[in-house]
């Protein structure tokens, strides 16, 4: 009974995520059209849309990963339906409050809401506290969900087992499935960064209600902001990877992936490094001691290398010279891993201090994070959505049409990203609603980005219509 409920709530999550995704893509296209001088938005509208787009995207792909992991985790442990529903309700309430602050209140401090921007009120005065309330609601729901999942894992596995430490010895008696290991590592990271968010929001509220008697330290707030923001944006990718480790071999008709000593080591190291990589967001903050900048650079390399190395190796071994049952699910996983690696390389280039001097706050930044999101994590989740829907409603795949949709997605995605990369290499700044005339290539590139993003959107719409029908069937079927 519990698993039927989880199945249904997963279907609800999928529909919600896809609807919010489509709206957010439209906002993204409008931003690019404005930057391309094809339409004219006021800077306030542009930045409100940018804030809505950024935070909604981060939020939905985080919950998409969580919903997928929650669903698959039932293969190993019982999970709490109540925690899942609480997270859903609080996410929806959070989105409604957040959208009110941006669409009605015109709050536009960006998804990173870097201190002291939220207090430099250039929008409805109620929008700042309400924005903080929306974050609190998200944080609460997601914290309950993550802690609940972690608790279920700890009921079955000891700490040593859940982190797969027994695999460092020869012939371990118990095997920790890679899915469990990665999920646990990721949940710890998520809980840690959500705690950072709690402290951050508390400090914001403290200043807001103190009537000037308490002021925050900008450097502390920036550290906390990126501790939360950078970490959650990375952890949501790892949720997608957990799903790949569980499903890729299965849908490809290959033996299940197993945890080895190097898989265990790589993911344990990732836990440590991913929590310190955020220091690379503070390279320009001279007051931050040099030691932390070096930690930031090293952690950025070390966080990406083990997980990426092991995953790419595993995927490569799985497909190289072997008979693979290719389906849309493993194709999306495969292309997603490629997107993740390419975006990751772009990120590592940017996280190298000598390069960051040039690339900081240029379009290179949205270039790399859109690569591993729009062409990485989104594809991981789409693959899961497809696989999930396919479990219960037959034949949502039809060969040729599916391949065509995939081709449209690839063409749209690559073109959209190229416009960002070329802009970044040309030192065009990010987060400009209108580009100064000195950047001659900026507006044409933005228009190109908008055109290709529309092609990408077309593919997403096709996927959406196929998936949502299946999800509705699951939702309304008696069992």
């Amino acid at each position: 009974m519990e698993s039927i409920k989880i199945k249904k709530i997963t279907a609800v999550w999928i529909i919600t995520v896809l609807v919010l995704f489509i709206v957010s893509i439209v906002l993204g296209i409008l931003m690019r059209l404005n930057q391309g001088e094809i339409i004219e938005q006021s800077p306030i509208t542009f930045y409100s849309n940018m804030t809505t787009h950024g935070l909604t995207m981060i939020g939905i792909w985080f919950v998409a990963g969580m919903a997928a992991v929650n669903y698959l985790m039932q293969r190993y442990v019982k999970t709490s339906y109540t925690a899942n529903v609480i997270a859903y309700v609080l996410t929806v309430i959070g989105v409604l409050i957040f959208w009110t602050t941006t669409f009605v209140g015109k709050f536009h401090a960006g998804w990173t809401f870097l201190y002291p921007l939220p207090f430099k009120v250039m929008w409805a005065t109620w929008a700042t506290p309400l924005f903080l309330v929306s974050l609190t609601v998200f944080g609460l729901g997601w914290l309950i969900w993550s802690i609940s999942l972690m608790t279920q894992l700890l009921k079955k596995y000891s700490i040593a087992q859940v982190f797969a430490w027994q695999h460092f010895r020869k012939n371990p008696k118990v095997e920790t499935p890679p899915f469990i290991l990665i999920t646990m590592i990721t949940l710890i990271g998520i809980i840690t960064c959500l705690f950072a968010a709690v402290i951050l929001i508390a400090l914001f509220f403290a200043e807001y209600f103190s009537n000037g008697n308490f002021l925050n330290d900008a450097l502390l707030m920036k550290n906390l902001t990126y501790f939360f923001g950078h970490t959650i944006a990375n952890e949501m990718l790892y949720l997608g990877l957990a799903v790949i480790y569980e499903l890729f071999s299965e849908v490809s008709g290959r033996p299940k992936w197993r945890t080895t000593w190097y898989v265990a080591l790589a993911w344990n190291l990732t836990l440590i490094f991913i929590l310190t990589a955020f220091f690379h967001h503070l390279y320009m903050d001279f007051a931050q001691p040099e030691g932390f900048q070096i930690i930031g650079q090293l952690a950025s390399y070390l966080a990406s290398l083990p997980a990426a190395g092991v995953t790419v190796f595993s995927v490569f071994i799985a497909v190289y010279r072997t008979e693979i049952k290719w389906s849309l699910t493993n194709l999306l996983f495969f292309i997603g891993v490629a997107g993740w690696v390419i975006g990751g390389l772009g990120a590592v280039i940017d996280a190298t201090i000598t390069n960051n001097v040039l690339l900081h706050n240029t379009l290179w930044v949205p270039a790399h994070f859109h690569t591993y999101n729009a062409m990485g994590n989104v594809l991981f989740s789409l693959a899961f959505f497809y696989w999930f829907t396919n479990q219960f409603t037959k034949n949502i795949e039809d060969g040729k049409f599916t391949k065509l949709t995939l081709a449209i997605l690839l063409i749209g995605g690559i073109g959209f990203l190229l416009a960002f990369y070329i802009g970044g290499a040309d030192s065009i700044p990010r987060r400009y609603s209108n580009y100064p005339t000195d950047f001659t290539a900026a507006a044409p590139l933005a228009t190109m980005g908008a055109i290709f993003a529309t092609i990408y959107l077309t593919a997403i719409l096709i996927f959406f219509f196929k998936i949502y029908k299946g999800c509705l069937k699951i939702l309304f079927s008696p069992s």
Binding site: I147, M150, T151, L154, K155, K156, S158, I159, I188, I191, T192, C193, F195, A196, I199, L203, G212, N213, F214, L215, N216, D217, A218, L219, L220, N223, L224, F227, L275, F286, A287, Q288, P289
Partner: protein, 250 residues
Amino acid sequence: MFKNIVFTFVTINSWFFANAQTASGIEEETNIYERIYNAPIRVSRNQQLTFTDLNNKKPLLLALIFTKCAGVCNPFLLQLKENLQFINSDNPFTILVLSFDPRDRLGDMNLLAQKLGLENNKKWIFAVTDSIALLNQSIGFYPRWDSVRSQYDHDALLVGINKEGYITKKLIGIRDKLDLDLLISSVNNIYSPTYRLPNKNILFSCFNYDPKTGKNRPGLGWLFIALPAVLAMSLLLSISFIVHNKLPAE
């Protein structure tokens, strides 16, 4: 001995004028990164230049004074001269001493240069201009004529102008060598860090900056950055402990 007297005099004056300058209400932050008015300036009887001619060669430190000044001008220039002797910066700059009093003639400025012992110093240029109003406006400098004292009520102002003719930094009042160093860096487009002033309402800083030593001491704020990881690990251990002590091992 003479040096000590000058110094005492300068210190007392600088305290007095430092207080006086806040009263006039001009701010160092105004007109920064705006272009200085390209005024024609006369540096010798047969040489008329413009600001661009000068700043194109080397960045400028512009000191605005008038020769009949009974107040801050002399101590200001004396201190500037003194401080610059101790600055051995590799970064190039020229000091342009310009009168904002239309009554001043080139002869008055030359006399002032002689009095300061700077008439043969290539780094210093003493000049007059006939575009005072436009120049002052581009800097945001507004001396007021006090007819009772027959003096201008004004600030001691040193303006940094880079090679492209942009105002990069202003120093109001008689300032120390450290500030001058920052000004010289700024006109050479070298980034200079700035720190917020200590504030008793900021309880949790990552660092506490000591302007005397120029050093940062770690503050309580770092605890907040370590806290999320500590909390998460404690939660992990607590939950594991609770579930394994409550439930039979599976």
